[in-house]
């Protein structure tokens, strides 16, 4: 008989739950300020709301070819530097890399007409030029994350001469694999109506969408599980860091959102062809740089097949990939990821720089 709970045991569980919740509230009040990133950095360039930051490692970089990390517009980039012992940034610095990162900032109503052309051929291009100038280099390394990986691919396709090596992490290339839930949902949405109505798309709306990918786990079970461990102050603080990041969702500049959703999710133009950004044709076959493609096997946002298809989609003769047994976030924050991902990227970049 599977169902064997005694009433007194049920009451005992409930009692324990309430005790943990009360203790947790006490600990929660003592959590204090939650940082947004842990590695020291300097801002080396600013334009509108964008900041280009350079991380300061404990030792000088051994690779003289800097790497620029391009994060997504959704969520904030401190996921890559979430806590002392869970930091992709720190891992890359330790691997001898000179690490820069584009922080896109928080768009407001005045940014609603920012297009992908503004983001890529404006902001990102200026960041690349700034780093090239600082280091006296013709080309630098680029590392794109998720949507930032898509941007990196598009940018490299348009400006191949400025990119020496390209790393993509959890980056969708085929937006219409059969297991892509986000893509499936968006096919019946009137994106023009959405953007014309809202202007910028609220971060809350995107959050709602992402949480609905696994609603029972992400909006329920996770919090119940947290009650079990919130007696431990450090675990609670780590949980709160993640919680802060998850709900720290910038609004999306309307026009860029319109272009991205229609061209990539609805029409899959990055893979199928016909993509135009500004006056530039974006053709993956224009990419000749060495590519290191890193993806997660249990990624519920970007299915691994959406990334794998990059193999053969470009003209690069030096393509490698790394498949990580974890999820979309775990690839940055799990203990296992710290030991494998940044060292592997660092070694790959150093070998080719």
């Amino acid at each position: 008989m599977p169902f064997q709970m005694r009433p007194d045991e049920i009451l005992n569980e409930v009692k324990t739950f309430n005790e943990k919740l009360a203790q947790g509230m006490t600990n929660l009040m003592e959590v204090g300020e939650i940082s947004s990133g842990v590695t020291p950095f300097e801002v080396v360039y600013q334009e509108d709301k964008l900041k280009l930051i350079r991380y300061i490692g404990e030792k000088e970089p051994t690779n003289k070819m800097p790497v620029l990390i391009v994060y997504a517009l959704v969520n904030r980039p401190y996921m890559t530097d979430i806590q002392e012992n869970r930091s992709t940034i720190k891992g890359l610095l330790d691997a001898g890399q000179d690490v820069y990162l584009v922080d896109w900032g928080y768009p407001d109503a005045s940014d609603r007409y920012l297009t992908l052309d503004d983001y890529l051929n404006g902001y990102l291009d200026n960041c690349v030029d700034e780093i090239r100038a600082r280091h006296g280099l013709d080309a630098i390394n680029l590392l794109g994350i998720c949507q930032g990986g898509v941007f990196s691919l598009c940018y490299t396709a348009m400006h191949q001469e400025k990119i020496k090596n390209l790393v993509t992490m959890v980056t969708p290339v085929d937006f219409q694999t059969p297991d892509n839930m986000l893509s499936h949902w968006v096919q019946n949405m009137d994106i023009d109506l959405l953007v014309d109505t809202l202007g910028n798309v609220p971060g809350e709306m995107l959050n709602w969408t992402f949480l609905n990918l696994k609603p029972y786990q992400l909006m329920g079970q996770k919090y119940l599980g947290m009650v079990d461990v919130m007696g431990d102050s450090q675990t609670l603080k780590n949980f709160m860091r993640m919680e802060k990041w998850i709900f720290d969702s910038p609004d999306q500049a309307g026009e860029a959102f319109r272009e991205f959703t229609k061209n990539f999710f609805q029409q899959n133009k990055l893979l199928k062809g016909g993509l135009q950004i500004g006056g530039h044709a974006v053709d993956l076959k224009s990419i000749t740089a060495p590519i290191f493609n890193v993806f997660a096997e249990q990624d519920h946002l970007v299915p691994p097949d959406a990334s794998r298809v990059l193999n053969g989609a470009t003209s690069s003769s030096d393509y490698s990939e790394l498949s990580f047994k974890g999820g979309h976030i775990g690839i940055y924050v799990s203990g296992k990821a710290q030991k494998t991902i940044p060292p592997a990227i660092g070694a790959w970049l150093t070998e080719r720089s």
Binding site: P2, I10, S110
Partner: protein, 378 residues
């Protein structure tokens, strides 16, 4: 986040009270172990309500913030858990066998979802009764908040439904078909159009919820199959938490399949599209009011933002041209310096940056006009 009124003493008092409360329940339950004469009965929703009341008392001493939000979610989920506990407790205390108790619990859940479907099909809105999926339903309200539509949350809670009418669609259609006449004819027509958009959103919301309720029924069916499988394998569910985790697992699995169906694609898209159309109608009405008051409208602001973006682009292009010119001038200066001793004047500066460096340089120039270098660190 904590205000002065909050103190450790208060927390301790609450903890002690909680302990006494649950100890008392446990003692009663021990008395009521199988074979004992007494089994305490619980009033409807007593446990979730207890947690809710505690949170209401505590949260007034906390300022809004990430911690409070997270704790609110824990408490919300705690209430769902308490509800599950209460149901499990009540079926067990009835003294039935494990199988009967489990079946009774699953029957009750299935009835709940069927009741949701029946209500929605009858045109009576319900946003409750979704069990552990309730958080997903409730989070939609946060989306409305983020769009400044707090005042219209009731749209998703029966706003256009007429609870006393069995045929609200028909009643509403008659109202909307009434010809607008008189001095305010145009205004009446606009409001009728807006009402229609609101009704469309209500319908889309109903369809979305009904699809979810149907999925709830499927989840119960899947749970029955999973329980049967556990029975065959000789496995047991001996804690409330195991039951909860199993229920989440089954729900997620059923939802995962449902979310990839054409049906979900349609109800999801229709919900968002209907909300946007409704909001666009509201925006237009607001703009009319602003215009009448000689205030800037959304349209005016958008025109200004669009112009601003065009100017940004022009500036960016000009900066690039200036950099190119500066680079050429630098190169010319260096060339001249090698043949003539005097330096060329700097013709282009970009914000006092390194354009006054007359050294020839093959390296690319950065877009300094926009750059500032404030010291910052993590």
């Amino acid at each position: 986040m904590v205000m002065d009124a909050w103190s450790d003493n208060m927390m301790k008092s609450w903890s002690d009270a909680q302990k006494r409360y649950w100890d008392a329940w446990s003692e009663l339950a021990n008395m009521g172990k199988p074979g004992s004469p007494v089994m305490p009965n619980i009033g409807a929703s007593a446990w979730p309500q207890g947690l809710d009341q505690w949170w209401k008392a505590v949260s007034q001493y906390s300022a809004p913030g990430a911690s409070t939000d997270a704790f609110q979610r824990m408490v919300d989920m705690g209430k769902v858990y308490m509800n599950l506990a209460e149901n499990a407790y009540n079926v067990q205390r009835a003294g039935t066998s494990g199988t009967e108790a489990m079946n009774a619990w699953m029957d009750a859940m299935e009835s709940g979802f069927r009741a949701c479907c029946t209500q929605l099909e009858a045109g009576k809105y319900t946003a409750h009764g979704f069990g552990i999926g309730q958080a997903a339903m409730d989070s939609w309200q946060r989306v409305l908040n983020s769009m400044g539509m707090q005042a219209f949350q009731q749209m998703g809670a029966g706003g256009f439904h007429m609870p006393l009418s069995e045929n609200w669609h028909e009643q509403l259609r008659k109202m909307l078909d009434t010809p607008a006449v008189g001095f305010n004819r145009e205004s009446q027509e606009r409001l009728q159009d807006l009402t229609q958009l609101g009704a469309n959103y209500q319908e889309a919301m109903d369809d979305y919820l009904e699809a979810f309720a149907k999925q709830g029924i499927e989840s119960v069916t899947a749970l029955r199959a999973r329980v049967a499988s556990l029975r065959e394998d000789g496995k047991k569910i001996s804690t409330l938490r195991e039951l909860y985790d199993l229920w989440v697992d089954v729900n997620e699995e059923v939802y995962g399949k449902f979310a990839m169906t054409d049906e979900y694609q349609v109800v999801y898209g229709d919900l968002v599209n209907a909300l946007m159309a409704f909001k666009q109608g509201i925006n237009a009405e607001l703009d009319s009011a602003y215009e009448a008051a000689n205030l800037p409208t959304r349209k005016d602001l958008n025109a200004a933002f669009q112009k601003q973006q065009e100017i940004r682009r022009e500036n960016r292009a000009l900066r690039k041209q200036l950099q190119e010119l500066a680079r050429k001038v630098d190169a010319m200066s260096a060339g001249s310096a090698s043949t003539a001793p005097e330096q060329l004047p700097v013709s282009v500066t970009d914000g006092g940056s390194d354009a006054d460096d007359n050294q020839a340089s093959a390296k690319p120039k950065a877009p300094r006009a926009a750059s500032k270098k404030p010291a910052a660190s993590a």
